[in-house]
Symmetry: C2
Subunit: 217 residues, 2 copies
Amino acid sequence: MAVTRTGLKARPKKQRRMSGQERRRQIVRAAMDLFARKGFKGTTTKEIALAAGVNEAMIFRHFPTKGDLYAAIIDYKMDQCGEWISRVHEEAARRKDDRAMFLALARGILAFHEQDGTFMRLLLYSALEGHELNRMFFETQVVEHFEFLADYIAQRVRDGAFRPVNPRVAARAFLGMITHHAQVRELFDPQGRLLNVDSDAAAAELVDIFLAGVARR
Amino acid sequence: MAVTRTGLKARPKKQRRMSGQERRRQIVRAAMDLFARKGFKGTTTKEIALAAGVNEAMIFRHFPTKGDLYAAIIDYKMDQCGEWISRVHEEAARRKDDRAMFLALARGILAFHEQDGTFMRLLLYSALEGHELNRMFFETQVVEHFEFLADYIAQRVRDGAFRPVNPRVAARAFLGMITHHAQVRELFDPQGRLLNVDSDAAAAELVDIFLAGVARR
DNA sequence: CGAAAGATTGTAAGTACTTACTTACTTTGT
DNA sequence: ACAAAGTAAGTAAGTACTTACAATCTTTCG
């Protein structure tokens, strides 16, 4: 009755085995890439295992469910993103004039999209899919980003340097210009041939348009 | 041996039955809604059938595969969207001054997002999912939209009314402001409380910022 | 007209396959 | 010796799609 499941002894492979942490990172990296390209439902645990080069069962040793793996990714990246936001804000706030400050902001956002476009895609996906964690992300990080800009603009309005625009509308305008640019570039125009200028020059021109748009006449 | 499958005679329901076309439309409508909310993979044919109030098998009588149903939706909406774009362009082109023209454009885009936000979500989804049909959509309709704006801006630069901006960068800036606004509103801020102004007022202010941004100094 | 024939709409009960997740067991490092 | 890493082979619950057949509408022809 009690027949061994395999029927044969597994032959010993002399390969170095990995620590749990290493494997965990490997799985997370592969999963993020796949989730970003095909969405949560569109990605199977089998695919993740294949891409990560691990046995499928290992995924479930590290993360109880597929959803937990997803949550772990967002959780991990969220912290990273929070740090990045404050770093960019600090750097931007150090600038002496508006142009330098908005340029720093624009470049920071574009750089993040370029370097971490995968995660941005994943965020977009999860925004659509309506994940709770994602909602949290937007309601903390993105709103913080938004508020920082709105506050800055409000101050400049009070200074009399900007004309009396609604600071929040203006902030959304600026973020819209930049993130739309980044998104279009990522999804449809990676070579930037539609614009005929490189990303940095485009960022500079967008900043110019925005600043002229809110400057006192 | 040859036992009837059901075992009992189906009792005749005196309900009016629908024409194929009606059912088709019903299925398409329900499917679009679900695809937009949960993505292609995230939606099951069973759910679609339930939402449309039809038997699951009916879906497959009208559309050979789930993919064909998806394609039919995009195909149908694509035409509709094309018509809408030319109508908005015509209307915008009729305006006498820049402000009226950009306002017409902005309101047109926002209205489409508001009225057909479902389809916009579906488009975003399929952009992420990398569907071929979607790519086609963007490379025809959206580029057309973009080119129309860029041409208009280029003309105004030649007129000397706008300063010498890169017309394509400026066009992307404007579309970015408007579509980002629409997206944020749809996904995170349906009440518009983050901006503290209604959508129409926001559109007007965005247009003002943009026009001041590209105006000759 | 009216009714049989033929086409179309509708449905319950499948099928073959995939999916997330488990289990029982082996190998390796300390 | 013991715990952690690793694996092949499951399993139950979906999944897209099919089939066999019943109800109802439309057309044709006496």
